[in-house]
């Protein structure tokens, strides 16, 4: 036992140092949220714990000031919830089709799913922008939700997950006289809960943090999501830093809280893509 003690100490010391480096930026922004914006523009973000410049002013401005922060915050919550719910439902519906049946064209369609996962979404930005403009969907949440409805990575994960569910469930359902859709809704959906949790979290994180595409299609300030709103605070003049830093700090908190509560699902969701099928 004691022979291994030095190894343990070296390991722990090493990870403690790396961990401290990883956490420094969080500590810095937490400190920064108590400092006036002017101070941040003048001195940058640092670790000085100077009580003479620190106060709760930013927080009281965040909660009582005249700005749209909480409009953006609730837009983000709403968009994330709707987007995740729809994406999970549609993707699982599609995945069930791939997992439960043999049909003509199945392999070709599944290759299309894989292909989507390999094409950078960014190259479609302009034609999608043009399409959104032509369809009259500019400045609407539909423009953000629709393209991701049958999310390829989510379909892929659900299909892998469904393959581990015994076929007898489906056969038994048919014997009991359930329709093809009844089997999906009443027998399959309930057993997919863990997969929903993992993909819900992965999609939720992406949706909550999504910037580029929403930034391109939304122009009405009252429809902005939190990342867009925060980005607009970054003017070249640096006059919004009071709200920017405290708002950035505050935007991390809900997702941290969710992470602490559902840690296992977060990690499952993040590593789901690497599971070989």
């Amino acid at each position: 036992m004691s022979r291994n003690l030095p190894k343990k100490i070296v390991l722990i010391a090493f990870f403690a140092v790396v961990c401290a480096i990883v956490l420094v930026p969080f500590y810095a922004i937490a400190l920064g949220s108590f400092k006036p914006g002017k101070e941040l523009v003048r001195n940058g973000l640092n670790l000085s714990f100077d009580l003479s410049v620190m106060s709760f002013d930013n927080f009281s401005f965040l909660f009582t000031g005249d700005h749209s922060y909480f409009t953006w915050f609730f837009n983000s919550v709403l968009l994330t919830v709707v987007q995740v719910a729809l994406t999970l439902f549609v993707s699982s519906f599609v995945a069930y089709g791939f997992a439960a049946y043999e049909f003509k064209g199945k392999n070709f369609l599944f290759i299309c799913v894989l292909l989507i996962m390999m094409v950078p979404f960014e190259i479609l930005l302009l034609p999608l922008y043009k399409l959104t403009y032509d369809l009259g969907l500019m400045n609407s949440y539909s423009a953000i939700i629709l393209p991701g409805l049958a999310n390829a990575a989510t379909v892929f994960f659900f299909r892998q997950y469904l393959r581990s569910i015994p076929n007898e469930i489906i056969t038994a359902g048919r014997v009991d006289g359930a329709s093809e859709y009844g089997i999906y809704f009443r027998l399959i959906l309930p057993v997919m809960k863990p997969a929903f949790a993992a993909m819900g979290i992965l999609n939720g994180m992406n949706s909550w943090n999504n910037l580029l595409w929403p930034f391109m299609v939304l122009s009405d300030e009252n429809k902005y999501t939190l990342p867009i709103g925060l980005k607009t605070l970054l003017t070249p003049y640096g006059n919004n830093y009071d709200l920017l830093i405290v708002g950035s700090f505050f935007s991390i908190l809900p997702i941290f809280a969710l992470f602490v509560a559902f840690q296992k699902y977060f990690i499952d969701g993040m590593t789901a893509g690497s599971v070989k099928g």
Partner: protein, 297 residues
């Protein structure tokens, strides 16, 4: 009658996959096709387009700023792979070792940066890498007597900031990928190697690294994709798409600049097509080189 048709076992699978087919056609095939078409046109939003043949592509080849953007994206991609494959792999192996304490704590702590949005992380890093002597990185370097550096004004130092941001956000995630890969290595392999008198280092190079190959391929594949398509990180770090002398300009940044900021959609579309071809080529080459196709039968 219609109901019986839709509910038959032959038709049901198509009903199930129909949403995918619709989304695929409307939001992937059509835009991709129109992107190819647009790249051969001179086009402005709301106006009629004209065909210009390969003019956009010819212009691209002589466009120094575009070549700079390609260079930046490729260098960024290569460097993120060089950093974000070996270190997370090593961390995963160390954290998995039997001498490790508080595994779950460290795993969670390393994962936290992945939860922040690029907007927030980019803002934090921009201010940490500020050019004043009081900003975090410069004040740290000052402890060693190093003069304050204007990180975001120079090519190399700007890339250091960019890579620091990527490393901070993705080390924990890649580590988790490698940890899940490690779970698939049978314990007996290590026991057998121990009996043969293999050292820890030999076990790492002869068993762990080869057995982690599928995970490594996966991590490299997503890094190629993410590296070549990087844009927002640069945009946040330089507070806009205009870094000094384009030191932070990426392919997608150039696509955005031409298509959205300058409304030259045809030219921007050709940038997108080049990105698509480069991404596909590198990915397929990587998969062929690592023997991925042989394994899938």
């Amino acid at each position: 009658m219609v109901k019986r048709f839709l509910y038959s076992q032959k038709v049901a699978p198509y009903v199930f996959v129909l949403p995918f087919i619709l989304v695929f056609l409307l939001f992937w095939v059509y835009p991709l096709g129109s992107s190819v078409g647009m790249s051969f046109q001179k086009i402005t939003l709301g106006q009629s387009a004209s065909w210009v043949g390969f003019a956009n592509y010819a212009k691209l080849m002589g466009d120094g700023i575009f070549l700079k953007a390609v260079m930046n994206s490729v260098v960024y991609m290569v460097l993120t792979i060089v950093i974000l494959v070996p270190f997370p792999m090593l961390f995963a192996v160390l954290i998995n070792s039997k001498w490790m304490w508080a595994r779950e704590f460290f795993k969670s702590a390393f994962f936290l940066p992945a939860l922040t949005s690029v907007v927030v992380a980019g803002t934090i890093f921009r201010l940490m890498f500020g050019e004043m002597d009081t900003s975090l990185i410069n004040s740290f370097l000052g402890l060693f007597g190093i003069e304050p550096i204007k990180f975001l004004k120079g090519q190399t130092t700007g890339f250091i900031a960019l890579l620091a941001l990527a490393t901070w956000r993705w080390t924990g995630v890649n580590m988790l990928y490698f940890l899940s890969g490690l779970k698939n290595i049978p314990e007996d392999y290590y026991e057998a190697a121990s009996i043969d008198g293999a050292s820890s280092f030999q076990k790492f190079t002869r068993i762990t690294v080869p057995m982690l190959k599928p995970t490594t391929i996966y991590v490299i594949t997503i890094s190629i994709y993410a590296g070549l398509a990087m844009f927002i990180e640069s945009m946040m770090l330089w507070n806009g798409n205009n870094s000094p002398k384009n030191i932070g300009l990426t392919i997608v940044g150039y696509l955005y600049r031409q298509g959205i900021e300058k409304s030259d959609m045809g030219y921007a579309a050709s940038v997108g097509i080049v990105l698509l071809v480069v991404a596909m080529a590198i990915n397929l080459a990587q998969l062929a080189f690592t023997g991925m196709f042989k394994k899938e039968d």
